[in-house]
Amino acid sequence: MNWAFIDWTLLAPEIIVLITALLIFGLDLIWGDESERETLGWLGILGLIFAFYATLALGQGGELFNHIYVVDSLSIFSKQILLGIGVLIILASLDYIKGATKYEGEYYGLLLLAILAMMLISSAAELITIFICLEFATLTCIILSAYFKHEPKSTEAGLKYLLVGLLSAVVLLYGISLVYGLTGTTTLYQIGGSIRKYAFQPVLFISCIFLAAGFGFKIAAVPFHTWAPDTYEGAPTPITAFLATASKVAGFVILLRFFVGGLGDIEGHWIGIMVTLAVLSMSIGNLSAIPQTDIKRMLAYSSIAHAGYILIGLAVLSRESLTAVLFYLLAYAAANLGAFLVIIAFSKWTDLHNISDYAGLSKRSPLLALSMLLALMSMAGIPPLGGFIGKFYIFAGAVSEAVSDPERLWLIGLPVWGVIFSIVSVYYYFGVIKAMYLVEPVDTQPIPIPVPLGLALLIAILLTLLIGIYPGPFLALSESAIQSIF
């Protein structure tokens, strides 16, 4: 391999994030004074913004190391979302983490490494690379969920994430080894070429199940979701927000690249699996969310349900529906961040986590209540917010595919199922809204919003509104992203 011909500028965003992370670890060692630690957070934000600028300069992208690492429109799209999520999470963490732990600097460093790992996932196109990047992301996320090591809940969250995460990684690896054994190659690009000849291969079907189990863990789809409620509840809230958004975006991008990009020609092997996961996630996610009293746990189940809606797009497998997948991810990430940022501000001030504790939030802090209202309404799919447009495109994609192809008329069942459970979901989202607006507050003390968190909240909520009111540019962005694999 001639190193001179490698276009290192394609790796610029990753290199910038890595250097910033290492710089944070280094400065954290040198600076003894606690008050300087907040600067490290701002340094992280600066690094992420620079990396974002670097992604804008990537242009058409390209591939590195013989198709092991691809920089195409899909990975650029996903990296931009991940970097944006990273900036908002750090903004929200600045106030939250201060005084909560002695190890502030390492928190920001690890967070940056987790973002780096997810950026690598979205570009990885080779089995070994995919496995290593997934493990890199899982391990950093495990450490971050168990970050408050003196809080039993946080360590328990870490333990559950660890055990389920490692199990799913091994299952994924078994699936990967079968794919390698069948094709004799590890690059997705060559796998796609050599696998085309199989009509139906039982081994391939089994390995697809194993692969779906591995990726299903990352996106928290039923039945691989058991870690999600406990980890979301116990982990530090900014990390919960990070897991619910960034981890899911990265998981779906690798799912798209692997199944649609790599195994797209043998879709008969895996469409049934996706349909099963989608139906189970929608039903169990929404039904389990109803009796929850802890707001983070409720949002965990709601995020499982959202994974189900998005999986409809994969099961339908048309240009329209895959575009809708990426669009939905964008709308989902914005709304979910909005909701979690409100929870961060509220729980930092009151240290309460139950839905009933949000009673009278509209009187204590009208801004927080309004943001929460918009975020939850977007997730419930109420127009004119981002979540509504996302759901609309996903369901419309499924319906138009079912109508145009008589053999796939059964696909119409998926959007019907989705609409039924969207209506169910309105019930539990409105439980929170009712508490905030209609119930009298027990404690009338107003809740202050730290400035960086307020800024992040403003960005997330404006984005949710913008995606709903003016979806054109975001849809065009998703469409150009999906063109690189389908």
Binding site: L139, L166, Y174, G184, T293
Partner: protein, 101 residues
């Protein structure tokens, strides 16, 4: 000895590991069972490397990477089990249940 022998051995070890994960309640024992499953996959990879792509060493290189990752997993896993033991005074997964529902 052909490929199927190795695959059978690997499948048996994988199942033993999975059985261990599902039945054992001690967090350390679960971690050990997962390591067992990981090693069964390594047998798979080396066997495929030898029989499917004898000229290339892809599978064997893959195994070196998975062993390294297993070490990293063990480091993180033991650290978390250690900190859980300090707060809960147990590593039994049935007794570590602050969160339910």
């Amino acid at each position: 000895m052909d490929l199927s022998h190795y695959l059978t051995l690997s499948a048996i070890i994988f199942s033993i590991g999975l059985y261990g994960v599902l039945t054992r309640r001690n967090a350390l024992a679960i971690l050990l069972s997962i390591e067992l499953m990981l090693n069964s996959v390594n047998i798979n990879l080396v066997a495929f490397s030898h029989f499917v792509t004898p000229a290339l060493l892809t599978g064997q290189i893959f195994v070196i990477f998975t062993i390294t990752i297993a070490a990293a997993e063990a480091a993180v896993g033991l650290a978390i089990i250690n900190s859980i033991y300090r707060s809960a005074k147990t590593v039994n997964c049935d007794e570590i249940n602050l969160m339910k529902g």
